[in-house]
């Protein structure tokens, strides 16, 4: 009798200990839902279809991750500037939000290995005669506030000491301003540039070349101290590539040559 009480006590204690030690990964599996922060103003990574349902590379990627974890995916629409508040206030578990993995940001959030890579393209208003990145010098240029390309472009403008940089809030505003002639040129990911030029919504603009920025590697992110989850994310990204799913999604949403996710001579 005594031993039963004792073992019951041990089981109860280990249960409590188990709860106390559960990390974010356990929480997600336990709750049955994976909540992903996805930017839905960033085609073809995140957008909405005719029925207003979220679609895009990031949406599919979140669904794959949820399937791997054996839980339901929940897409939480998150504009670029709100990714961190969404994570810190626990509205989302993981960011699948085309987030550049800068060292500055890594002081705040934990990044997985890169899951996508962007090349940067220059799109110009046809009337300006801008035909390359160098031609942008001295002109009014802009990009979406808070993005990798906006930060890099603003640095260039400051370095040139000539011309003006304007950050807008959404990709649509940037291309509207470009089409209206308020901006002479913009730098965006080549995927976004192609999508917008081909959409026919913006007159008088064309993609004129590449921007000489480093390739923009983007990573999944979670809370900085959730090692269990971040480990899982690393392996998940690796498996996506290994199984060919990355190529498949790239072909579905982007097309063309699949970018390398590794940096030559480096671990990641």
């Amino acid at each position: 009798m005594k031993s039963i009480a004792l073992s019951a006590g041990i089981i109860a204690a280990s249960c409590v200990a188990g709860v106390a030690q559960a990390d974010k990964l356990d929480d997600i599996i336990g709750s049955g839902t994976l909540r992903c922060a996805v930017v839905l103003d960033f085609p073809p990574m995140g957008m909405r279809d005719e029925n207003n349902e979220p679609i895009g590379f990031d949406v599919d990627y979140c669904n794959d991750l949820a399937a791997a974890l054996g839980v339901e995916a929940e897409i939480v629409e998150t504009p670029f500037p709100e990714r961190i508040p969404a994570l810190m206030s626990n509205r989302v578990d993981v960011g699948v939000a085309s987030t550049s993995d800068t060292l500055e940001r890594a002081k705040t959030v934990g990044f997985s290995i890169p899951y996508f890579a962007f090349e940067m393209a220059v799109t110009a208003n046809d009337e300006t005669g801008i035909a390359s990145f160098e031609d942008m010098k001295g002109h009014t240029v802009g990009a979406v506030a808070g993005t990798y390309e906006a930060i890099a472009l603003e640095e260039y403008v400051n370095e040139w000491g000539d011309g003006t940089f304007r950050p807008y809030q959404t990709q649509a505003d940037v291309f509207l301003a470009l089409s209206q002639g308020q901006l002479d040129a913009t730098v965006s990911t080549s995927t976004v540039a192609q999508a917008n030029v081909q959409s026919g919504k913006f007159d008088g603009i064309s993609v004129v070349g590449k921007a000489p920025f480093d390739i923009d590697y983007v990573a999944l992110f979670a809370k900085r101290d959730e090692y269990g989850l971040i480990n899982y994310l690393d392996l998940f990204v690796n498996q996506q590539v290994r199984t060919g799913r990355y190529d498949e999604l790239y072909e579905k949403w982007v097309g063309g040559d699949v970018p390398q996710l590794t940096v030559p001579n480096a671990y990641r």
Binding site: I84, K107, T108, A145, F165, R166, P167, Q169, D173, Q180
Partner: protein, 221 residues
């Protein structure tokens, strides 16, 4: 649940940049108030003019300014007029948007103040040989400004807070714009926004308090 480790040192080095932003915010707010008051006086005169088309213009301005979001007004000042080929810089667009809003609200404040001034005062002025405009300028206007002075400081506070909407038209030199840029760079959202909130609070508090002091001195009986 909210767990976040605040790293104040990381962001306090950015404080000078944010204070520079606060200066720009003040510039926009002060300019928009000066121009806004001038426009509001004109709108008030138009409303008193008795001419139907002029009254219609003034009424339309006040109605749009008061019954549409300030965000919309600023957005239209940048992207709306640009579809007619008129381009303003973010600073000017923001200034136009806020000034438009200020003028509308202030004109309504002035109208309320006018109602509190008995009609007999104009007639007294007229009987002294003043023209209608002179009576307005020397007798009605000073009283109108006195009555609406405190509501004007309200509008000033509102103008300061409206500068934060400049980010929608590409403004990144005001306090909120600077904060957003730093946020994108560092991801230290909560520290940066907390500091911005304190700066906004201090600015508006200083303005309301000094307005009260000025009012006490200016408008003693």
């Amino acid at each position: 649940m909210f767990d976040y480790t605040f790293q104040w040192k990381q962001v306090l080095v950015r404080l000078p940049q944010m204070l520079d932003g606060a200066v720009v915010t003040m510039q926009v707010a002060v300019l928009s108030m000066i121009i806004g008051i001038a426009l509001a006086v004109i709108l008030t005169l138009l409303r008193l003019s008795g001419s139907r088309p002029l009254m219609a213009i003034a009424t339309a301005w006040v109605e749009v300014a008061r019954n549409t979001p300030a965000l919309f007004q600023i957005y239209m000042a940048h992207f709306g007029v640009a579809s007619f080929g008129i381009h303003f810089s973010p600073f000017v667009s923001l200034l136009i948007g806020i000034t438009f809003n200020n003028a509308g609200y202030l004109a309504e404040n002035f109208r309320g103040a006018l109602k509190a001034i008995p009609d007999t005062q104009t007639r007294a002025g007229r009987s002294l040989g003043m023209s209608q405009l002179q009576a307005f300028r020397y007798i009605i206007l000073p009283q109108m400004l006195r009555i609406s002075f405190l509501p004007m400081t309200n509008q000033m506070v509102w103008a300061i807070l409206m500068t934060s909407l400049g980010v929608t038209v590409g403004m990144n030199t005001d306090l909120y714009g600077v904060t957003q840029d730093l946020n994108a760079l560092t991801f230290r959202t909560f520290e940066l926004f907390a500091i911005a909130a304190v700066i906004f609070y201090v600015i508006t508090k200083v303005i309301t308090l000094s307005a009260r002091l000025i009012a006490a001195r200016l408008f003693r009986y």
